[in-house]
């Protein structure tokens, strides 16, 4: 029993107090990661709003890909079946 109390004494009499450091440390870790988590959760909605002002380059690229695919399909169709004009 004495040794347990000696051990505990060394925890609480350290400078700064070991328990306070641990509790404060754990809280700050949680707060930091909760802030990052909240930011990430909000990010898609923020980007959705921003996309209206600044269109996503990925969307442009996708649209370009679609146009290229349509052009290739049209060229192949004409080559196989001749022009419908």
């Amino acid at each position: 029993m004495n040794s347990i109390s000696a051990g505990w004494q060394s925890v609480v009499t350290s400078e700064p107090n070991g328990v306070s450091v641990s509790i404060a440390g754990m809280i700050i870790v949680f707060v930091s990661l909760v802030m990052i988590s909240t930011f990430i959760a909000a990010l898609p909605r923020v980007l959705e709003l921003l996309a209206k002002v600044f269109p996503d380059t990925d969307t442009k690229a996708a649209a370009d890909h679609d146009r290229v695919a349509v052009a290739i399909a049209a060229a192949l169709y004409r080559e196989k079946y001749g022009s419908s004009d």
Binding site: G7, S14, V21, S32, S37
Partner: protein, 382 residues
């Protein structure tokens, strides 16, 4: 003849102590684990060989050892002593990490925070132990440096130990890397003990697709948030997020490629070798080192349990349940602890793929342990 007998006295055979012999055997065991068992070979092999090199005795006046000013090993060890190597490793880790799963399911980040409890409870444990045994007294700086082993992140452990407890650096680094190598042995029993079969069978929703914009914005924003809250983590997190930005921006592929291949490999060799060489028997074979190994194991177990239990706690409030096994990946040890989650999950249900989900708390754990190191350094620097 005199010269010959004088020379014989200078040989390693003549000066070998039991301590040196034991440490050389430990080094060979590390090399064997790396080669035969494939346990963290990239780390254990250079550390093991470093331990062999560091324990060859030499004449006192020759500047050869890690702790001798002006020796080659001392110059290499500079990167460890001054905390240069860990941020460089973080740069490489950032350049090879995909944060997509974390971005698609941000609540899993909290598991990475919960697992850091191992660090702080071990800090208390180290101080407590010091009160029980007079010759094992640890100051609070030393206790914090020991506690960080629970973050399961070798570079972070080395970084904090170099700042707060340079005398214990060798033992802390070896303990951290040893336990990281032993993740597949340490974690599964704790995970099974703390979960029911029904919980282990939980299937999680597939992660959503994450846009390139989110991936590019994330490292900048996450760095600003974490570094402004904890400036002490600036060096580690700055390099981690720079590496990730190099990767995700897609405009610096050459730099990202170098960071995640050649550079991290070079730094890993130098770091592993010099940490191994710092385990000279006279400094390493002490009661404190044994105590550090014991506390490190406790830290690892508590961190694993913290992640699993917090996942169970979150399930009380969530509609889409989390498989609590995923919480065990909150300890950093990327990607080994995520692989362990996958392995344990598939033992219950071979069609349940938890790896992607486990990567989220896993990378959050890296950020969490760096933040914890920054906090401890900030509080205890004076």
């Amino acid at each position: 003849m005199d010269i010959l007998s004088q020379f014989i006295e200078t040989t390693g055979f003549a000066q070998m102590t039991w301590g040196n012999a034991i440490m050389i055997i430990v080094g060979i065991v590390f090399i064997s684990l790396a080669v035969i068992k494939d346990y963290e070979p990239l780390l254990l092999l250079p550390i093991g060989f470093g331990a062999v090199v560091g324990n060859i005795p030499f004449v006192a006046n020759m500047a050869l050892g890690v702790y001798d000013d002006g020796s080659v090993l001392n110059y290499i060890y500079f990167g460890v002593r001054q905390g240069v190597f860990p941020p460089l490793i973080f740069l490489g880790i950032g350049a090879m990490t995909d944060f997509s799963t974390m971005l698609s399911n941000p609540k899993l980040i909290l598991l990475g925070a919960a697992a850091q409890i191992g660090i702080f409870l071990t800090l208390i444990g180290a101080l407590f132990l010091g009160g029980l045994f007079e010759n094992l007294t640890f100051g609070i700086k030393e206790a914090a440096a020991i506690g960080i082993i629970g973050g399961a992140d070798g570079p972070t452990s080395i970084f904090l130990a170099s700042k707060l407890a340079p005398d214990l650096l060798g033992a802390i680094a070896i303990a951290a890397y040893s336990y990281m190598a032993l993740v597949p042995v340490i974690q599964p029993p704790i995970m099974r003990l703390l979960t029911t079969k029904k919980e282990r069978l939980i299937r999680m929703k597939a992660p959503r697709e994450v846009s390139k914009r989110e991936k590019v914005i994330f490292p900048i924003a996450a760095f600003l948030i974490s570094a402004l809250v904890v400036p002490g983590a600036l060096a580690l997190l700055g390099m981690l997020f720079l590496g990730n930005l190099l990767k995700e921006s897609c405009v610096t592929e050459r730099l990202a490629q170098t960071a995640r291949t050649s550079m991290i490999d070079i730094v890993t060799i130098l770091l592993g070798f010099s940490v191994g060489a710092s385990t000279q028997a006279s400094n390493f074979l002490t009661g404190k080192s044994l105590c550090i190994f014991g506390l490190g194991a406790t830290a690892f177990c508590v961190a694993t349990a913290g992640g699993v239990l917090f996942a169970k706690f979150m399930n009380l409030f969530l509609k889409d349940k989390i498989n609590p096994l995923v919480g065990a990946a909150g300890v950093s040890a990327v990607p080994d602890s995520a692989r362990v989650v996958q392995m344990v999950g598939q033992q219950e249900d071979p069609d349940n793929f938890l790896l992607m989900h486990a990567m989220a708390p896993n990378v959050a754990g890296v950020i969490g342990s760096a933040i914890a190191a920054g906090i401890l350094w900030s509080i205890l620097v004076n």
